[in-house]
Symmetry: C2
Subunit: 342 residues, 2 copies
């Protein structure tokens, strides 16, 4: 797929909207929603040695609206959504309930709407939408990475009410953090000249017991050291620091592998699996990170049918995860649910 | 309260049980439950640079049993619980569904049963039980800290089904980790000769806006850098590395302050607040930690009436917490719910 066409719009409150590929103009009388004026702060937590984002506006954010009031749908006559278009292929807009603001401490929160269709999910996206999506992510990484106040572009999706998702329309998010977040700091620590991720991938391939798929340069596996019962990592076998360092063909293979994992999750307990899907890439603070290697981590939060994995005292207060399953058993279960696997 | 009397028992499967103060012997025909033979492993997560505990037995653990089948009640004729006594004041036993085993990688998981009474909670414990409890904790810290395979004694309570609690009888847990957990490592990093916790407490007292109580050498406050909407820290103003370094009178003041916080939580939204309550103390690996300062952290997981704070993509995948409330507002709300405050 060629790089998608992008149309940039600005809402009356200054928030930017990006429409990718085809769209139809907003209906007559479109009335854009407006960001509130609220408290945004970044506070340093000296015990944890990390930043906490304070966003006192978010308490009022849209909470499970009725199907007919979805703010991520195309707009229609008499119904103004977040998207100033009456039809669209894919859209990105600056969140009206952000946890960071460039005008208050830096950073940006974008919402990525995968499709104009309300029904469905990442797992059910048709190939054209899926392949557009990975190009949208790549475009956003490139654009946000250029900003001085964005040191790390973090693309992720929270899926399911049990992860706190308040809108069902297929969408994800992008945070442009004004600092390198702690998890990335730990992953990149040591500034090894040899890439740790490359070594881990080869170890998983050699071992083989936790592999889910390995095709055309992309692998997916339950890492030996999984913290979540059905955690899966997806990565390029070749060393690629970020989406922008991959060819469009490589990105296409990657996103299809991601979708196969997401589909296997939905089959695992015969319910839509609530999960977090996140992409770790090279920081964009202008420094060199030869050890950065783009990889996707899926954290599904069910440990069994109808049973959630909770982050309780050990995880939250001590930082020690307890995994009730063996990675090898989880991989065996998921492997047979992966479609088209060899 | 004097140090409580302790009676040590051993179950047929080798698990130890400690009965504190008064108890009545097990009924005739007591049939002790037995630990399963399952997989326990410690795996190193090279991306996060942390240990993950794999405990593949826990999937079968007791899940919300009927009131009449509570395994933490005293035993009765025809009903054998985890406690080999037909009445007891307080009991500690080695968990039948542990996440660590001394025979498999080291470490220990104990369950602390606050009282023989099934109904109630930490917040509703009568003074005598509460004051016994802090002495039980102190005894366990001392006893577990002496073990070679325990480097860090972590006392905590998970409260509420929304934190994953599967038993309602008032109880908490103690993990004796065979390593220093990541959160403690970060808190203690730098080996400052000046105690960071001492400084933070004085800063909160000086500022005053987030203080909930300050009495007889113990303070409670919503830290300026709270990650959870109603997070509260309770600590001794004087530098005390661990419960064993405090006088019994100091411990009594501390545990009463903790209870006042727990009671305020239950009043906040007029529902039993699901929370984690955890005690950070000096490691027990034999090294010096002049900068360790015992403190209690409460993480209540409601951000509003009926609304949970979720740990989603930003928190779980990047390590960046988003707090929807201002610590100052949370403190103002909690302060007026604290009983007997000045």
């Amino acid at each position: 797929m060629p790089r998608p066409a992008r149309t940039d719009l600005v809402q009356p409150d200054g928030r930017r909207v990006y429409l990718y590929d085809h769209f139809e103009p907003a209906p007559a009388g479109y009335d854009a929603p407006t960001i509130g004026e609220d408290a945004y702060e970044r506070r340093w937590n000296p015990l944890r040695q990390e930043w906490v984002l304070v966003a006192a506006a978010r308490q009022s954010r849209t909470f499970l609206p009725a199907r007919s009031a979805c703010p991520l749908d195309p707009s229609a006559a008499g119904r103004s959504t977040e998207i100033p278009a009456s039809a669209f292929d894919a859209a990105v807009f600056e969140n009206r309930f952000p946890s960071m603001l460039s005008s208050a401490g830096g950073g940006v929160c974008e919402v990525v709407v995968y499709t104009g269709e309300h029904e469905g999910s990442f797992a059910s996206l048709p190939a054209a939408s899926l392949e557009r999506l990975v190009e949208v992510w790549t475009d956003r990484y490139r654009a946000l990475g250029r900003r001085d106040d964005v040191k790390y572009v973090y693309i992720f999706e929270n899926r399911g009410e049990q992860v706190g998702v308040t809108l069902h329309h297929p969408h994800g998010q992008i945070y442009g953090y004004p600092f390198i977040p702690p998890v990335a700091q730990i992953e990149l620590k040591g500034r090894a000249t040899a890439c740790r991720q490359c070594r881990l991938i080869e170890e998983e391939i050699d071992d083989g017991h936790r592999m889910l798929l390995s095709e055309r340069g992309v692998v997916a596996y339950v890492p030996a050291y999984a913290r979540w019962p059905y955690e899966v990592h997806v990565a390029t076998r070749a060393h690629r620091p970020a989406l922008v360092d991959m060819t469009a063909a490589e990105r296409r293979v990657l996103v299809h592998a991601m979708q196969r994992v997401a589909r296997a999750y939905d089959r695992l307990f015969q319910v839509p699996m609530p999960y977090m899907m996140l992409i770790h890439q090279r920081p964009t603070d202008g420094r060199e990170y030869p050890q950065a290697h783009v990889h996707v981590e899926f954290y599904p939060i069910l440990r069994d049918s109808g049973k959630l994995k909770y982050l309780a005292g050990s995880e939250s207060g001590a930082g020690v995860f307890i995994n009730d399953t063996l990675a090898e058993s989880s991989a065996a279960g998921l492997r047979e649910l992966i479609e088209g696997s060899a």
